[in-house]
Amino acid sequence: MPPLAYHALVGFIVLNVVIGMVTYVTLLERKFAARMQSRIGPYYVGPRGLLQPIADALKLMLKEDIVPARADRFIYNLAPIAFLLPCILIFATLPFAPGLGVADLNIGVLFFLAVSSLEIVGLFMGGWGSNNKYALLSAMRAVNQIISYDLPFVFAAFVPVLLAGSLQMSAIVEAQRGLWFVAYPVIGQLAFVLFLIATLAAENRVPFDILEAESELVAGFRVEYSGMKFALIQLGEYAHMIGTSFLGALLFLGGWLGPGADTPLVGALWFLLKAMLVFLVVTWVRWSFVRIRVDHILAVSWKLLLPATLVLLLLTGFLVAARGPHAG
């Protein structure tokens, strides 16, 4: 098979798997939240509610598509796509098992981080193009927040990169064969916790969901979106969330490593399991905290997370310099 066709095929499969996974992760989150809140959660559609995500998607497809009269039509219509694209694109460099991925770039982590922060463009387009005050305020908040949190997010993600001595995702996983980076004394745990906090903010989850903030801004930047455009935004958000969970599992929890991981499928299952674990931790936090205020969010980022991750990165640097890059 020519390489281009091979990549196209793999890309197609990964895209569909990701979208399928995203739909079902919503069900997982809803069931998990329901457990936390002493409810049952969705259970009408299909056995034990298993068809609920499909019903949701169908409903959204059938909804009327409304464009506000005073909206900037071009930007408004383009925004969901501009938002979704980077969120899907981050899966391009994720290897799900040895050799099982679209493109295992030698700058994979960098690519992931760079592309994932592009979502802000689509988000701001949506907020601006809607010509709605709630959406506008939300878009402003989003820019504030994402610029502030991308730095600690990147710095925390670079701790494993330094430890592994490579930006290539598969190399980072291989470097954890002896010891997962989360188990690395002190540095690993600190970096993982900081990474999780920054993840919450980068994904706009409670307690950092000020740009959605439905009790203040109704639904934030997507308040005017309906039907399929709304579905695309939802899809992008969850794709981003799962992508980040996968990144967390890859950087800190050893990716596909685990008993029997040499079979690609078992490795992929391990990876999925770990990513879901990270996702559930994020969900758990989401359903137990109240939202914090915009000025506090910025203060937490600039006064706490950024210095902490910087110091951590520096310490890791010294450590790696002392022991040599590949001691693992």
Partner: protein, 387 residues
């Protein structure tokens, strides 16, 4: 003060320093019904708030003039539908005051039990909605909301066993109560209260150990003691600002003097202080219900004989003002009787209405996110504001 500022705003342009006028309500996820706040923003900071009420006005006071003393108690509960027992009690107390009607001791105790259960139920809803305002319907707030509603349902189950209704009860009647407690109800009530006592501890553990919750509530929306007295706020707001004023001790009604009500007071005046006051009131109400159940005297539950027509109860000419301590503060009912079967005039004093008046004094200077936190801590019910 707020009005002139709010009117002189400029729509946002491209310069970056303009003010933005933003509507919150009447249709808004945190409008607590139908409240419209016209906010004037500079960035994220609120510089002025213009409050618009009246979307739920139902001519309640006029309605009271068209209904007889037998009919109206069930309708009175619709002013504050979250704590329906309060307005019923205020109305019948006013009628009894003007008509100089004695209420049997057993009925007075039953009224105390219902009033305190109602306070617990109302505070449950307050806790849930307030946390939902701060925490988001898709976040931790919804979790607390569902927990609190679960507890409120337990109280509503008690009311359903007692009166057959879950929202608007029609429990009170002029001269006493309409229903006596059924067999086994006291035991059911004690068990429910034990459950709620235990869960209150869980909420406090969940909220007060949460740094985000503290940062959202402490020092936010401070009502100074002077301001509280000047504006005339009542209930938990007043007690959260350091004024130990509670009608149950200041002007006892319905045998409250028998129980030695302990009034919780906090001096900080912020959202957290109001939260603390209400959490203490939960426990105090639970204690009062236990005390009233313990000391429940035997005897008739109403001094009024059964009536055969709705116009049969007549009150001699006169006027009077009765007031009770509701979950949100002082609820008053001013009644003018002309000797007929219906009131000549009726005026409600809603606690939510006067509490809401404090908003323009405390909100400017806060962030948008604090507006909902402050509004939730004021705990308005718009049925009572607009009547």
């Amino acid at each position: 003060m707020a009005d002139t500022l709010a009117r002189s705003t400029v729509e946002i342009g491209y310069g970056g320093s303009e003010r933005l006028t933003m509507n919150m309500g009447p249709q808004h996820p945190s409008a607590h019904g139908v409240f419209r706040a016209i906010l004037t923003l500079e960035g994220e900071t609120v510089v002025a708030i213009d409050a618009v009420i009246g979307y739920l006005h139902r001519c309640h006071e006029k309605l009271a003039e068209t209904l007889t003393y037998v009919q109206y108690p069930t309708i009175a509960s619709k002013t504050d539908y979250v704590s329906a027992m309060t307005a019923e009690l205020a109305y019948v107390a006013a009628v009894e005051l003007v008509g100089k009607i004695d209420v049997p001791r057993r009925a007075q105790y039953l009224r105390v039990i219902c009033a305190e259960l109602q306070r617990i139920a109302s505070h449950c809803l307050w806790l849930g909605t307030w946390c939902m305002d701060m925490g988001g319907a898709l976040g931790g707030g919804a979790t607390i909301f569902l927990y609190a509603i679960r507890e409120r349902e337990l109280i509503l189950d008690l009311f359903e066993t007692l009166t057959g209704a879950r929202l608007l009860y029609g429990f009170h009647q002029v001269g006493g109560t309409r229903y006596d407690i059924p067999a086994g109800w006291a035991q059911q009530c004690r068990e429910t209260l034990a459950v709620i006592t235990q869960r209150l501890g869980e909420y406090e553990a969940m909220l007060e150990a949460n740094a985000f919750f503290l940062v959202r509530t402490q020092g936010v929306g401070v009502i100074s003691r002077d301001l509280a007295e000047h504006v005339g706020v009542a209930g938990p707001l007043l007690r959260g600002s350091g004024v130990a004023y509670d009608l149950r001790t200041a002007a006892p009604y319905s045998s409250y003097e028998d129980f030695g009500v302990r009034v919780p007071v906090e001096s900080a005046g912020d959202c957290f202080a109001r939260y603390r006051v209400r959490m203490a009131e939960f426990r105090e109400s639970i204690r009062l219900v236990h005390a009233a159940l313990d000391g429940l005297p035997e005897g008739p539950i109403s001094s009024r004989p059964g009536v055969k027509s709705v116009g049969q109860v007549r009150i001699p000419k006169g006027e009077g003002y009765s007031r009770v301590e509701g979950a949100r503060g002082e609820v008053g009912c001013y009644l003018v009787a002309d000797g007929g079967p219906k009131p000549y005039r009726l005026k409600w004093r809603g606690a939510s209405f006067s509490n809401l008046a404090v908003l323009p004094h405390i909100i400017p200077g806060h962030k948008v996110a604090d507006v909902v936190a402050i509004m939730g801590s004021v705990d308005p019910v718009f049925g009572e504001v607009d009547r």
